[in-house]
């Protein structure tokens, strides 16, 4: 990590500079410039297919933008030699519950840690995993199962647990409540709230009003691949911006 440049006075953790993404001659994101500061929670919201998931994938170092730069602690993730290495410091949770199908649940959880720190303390990590399993009321026996043998809801929670135990510097969580039942939603909401109180940096893509209001420090509204609003959460719900008013009325239920 000695390659990471001295942190700027602004405390920028992740920065997107004029990011655009084009696919099959269709401009899906256009000129997105954002800064995610350490210790804050950002909510990205949009109408369905508005580019939330795409933006998170680009910010997470997974999908190279057609134009623009993504900097993590001042290092360009896509254009600098050691940029790709820094992706492991970013914890991405996808909307779909993605697990490597030919590995057990335990192997799935440990895979990024093995890569991040080959000399990791197995007992300490597995204890943390078990505690998180208990917190989310997941049967410990699931650790030995293959992903195809566990429910969608459990898969989603395992994705979140996997990212939590790797202790990333920033969490990028796409649709946290997707595929979850009411009980799991409540537990996850409380966990996210706890993480916010601990000062974790999070970027959450969601249209859920409760998440936006109770977790978000700032809200970014995307429409047609562009930022239509970027403001504090309290200001978002009082905004006179027609795009925001229309969005609140139709997507987050006024």
């Amino acid at each position: 990590m000695n390659r990471i440049r001295d942190e700027k006075m602004t405390n920028d953790l992740l920065t997107l500079k004029a990011v655009s993404f084009e696919h099959e001659e269709c401009l899906l994101l256009s000129g997105i410039t954002l800064s995610f500061l350490r210790g804050k929670v950002y909510i990205i919201t949009s109408e369905p297919d508005g580019g939330k998931s795409l933006l998170l994938k680009i910010a997470g170092g997974i999908l190279k933008p057609t134009e623009g730069e993504v900097e993590f602690r001042g290092v360009d993730l896509y254009h600098e030699k050691h940029g790709k290495d820094l992706t492991k410091r970013i914890g991405s949770v996808f909307q779909e519950s993605t697990l490597i199908s030919n590995l057990s649940v335990e192997e799935n959880i440990l895979l990024p840690i093995k890569y991040l720190d080959p000399g990791y303390n197995y007992e300490a990590v597995i204890l943390e995993v078990i505690n998180l399993f208990r917190y989310f009321q997941i049967n410990i026996r699931n650790l030995g199962k293959r992903p195809s043998d566990v429910s969608y809801s459990v898969k989603k929670l395992i994705n979140i647990i996997r990212v939590i135990v790797t202790k990333p510097e920033i969490f990028l969580i796409d649709a946290p409540f997707f595929n979850l039942n009411a009980v799991d939603r409540k537990q996850l909401f409380l966990k996210l709230l706890e993480m916010k109180k601990k000062g974790e940096t999070m970027v959450i893509a969601t249209n859920d009003r409760k998440l936006i209001e109770d977790l978000g420090d700032e809200v970014i509204l995307l429409a047609k691949g562009q930022i239509k609003e970027n403001c504090r959460t309290a200001d978002f719900f009082r905004s006179s911006n027609p795009a925001v008013i229309n969005f609140i009325d139709h997507q987050v239920g006024g």
Partner: protein
């Protein structure tokens, strides 16, 4: 009509050029990752072990069966014709030329294509569809290093071992079937065989096994990772992986054999 045909040929040629260029870039990336593999060996090593187990260990009985049959048929046919000309000793030269130099690595490659080439292509294709490749990228794990290079190393190692197993079994099979015609001490058979085989024959067989193993793993991985969206692409890409692997192995066999005799 003529103009349209020329346009079609030109378009196909251009797409083939783009495909070849893409594959060569992929090969370059795999080779450069291969040399930096030590940095991710802690997680890729288990993939190598699993690949050697599946490609090598689990294929052993099929290889032994085919090798025994080939060795036996060669001795059977050879004995009938060579004995008629009083050239029974030529049977050893036949074993070296046909089995060690050609068939051992070639038939092993065909079996590896059928078992491991198809499974690599299918598995990687399904991983793309299930977004598992994106997941690896999100951890900062290079899919080339974790999936392709480790599988390539595993297939090369397994091809190398299986080719040796094929050679040894075919020779022993040859001895066994010889005893059906006339009593023959195994020590005499082995010493006659060793008198015909040279170090260059063994090196040729080893080089072929390594080149074929590399080609099969590379082509199968390439086509698996070329799946974009739908699971229906997976069998299509697997078929391409098999066709291109067989073609490449046959062409490589011709080139290596030509170079061998040219150097000799």
């Amino acid at each position: 009509m003529m103009k349209k045909q020329i346009e079609r040929i030109g378009r196909n040629g251009y797409y083939n050029y783009l495909g070849l260029r893409d594959f060569l870039l992929f090969t370059r990336d795999v080779l450069s990752t291969l040399f930096n593999f030590y940095s991710q060996v802690q997680i890729g090593f288990s993939v190598i072990v699993k690949q050697v187990y599946f490609t090598g260990y689990e294929a052993k009985w099929l290889i032994i069966f085919v090798a025994l049959a080939i060795g036996g048929v060669l001795i059977l046919q050879g004995n009938i014709y060579l004995t008629a000309f009083g050239q029974t000793r030529m049977i050893y030269l036949l074993l070296v030329t046909v089995v060690v130099r050609e068939l051992s690595s070639l038939l092993t490659a065909m079996i590896v294509i059928a078992r491991s080439g198809t499974s690599i292509s299918t598995e990687l294709g399904n991983m793309v569809v299930n977004k598992e490749i994106d997941l690896l990228r999100s951890f900062g794990i290079s899919p080339l290093s974790y999936l392709v290079v480790s599988r390539t190393a595993g297939v090369i190692a397994a091809m190398f071992i299986l080719t040796i197993v094929f050679n040894v079994t075919a020779v022993l099979g040859g001895w066994f079937f010889s005893t059906l015609f006339y009593p023959l001490n195994i020590e005499v058979f082995i010493s006659n065989f060793m008198a015909e085989i040279t170090v260059s024959d063994i090196i040729l067989s080893v080089i072929k096994s390594i080149v074929y193993g590399f080609s099969i793993a590379l082509i199968s991985s390439y086509h698996g990772l070329k799946v974009v969206k739908a699971s229906t692409e997976v069998p299509q890409r697997t078929i391409k992986a098999v066709v291109y692997s067989i073609t490449t192995v046959v062409i490589a066999n011709g080139i290596i054999t030509f170079v061998y005799y040219w150097l000799k």
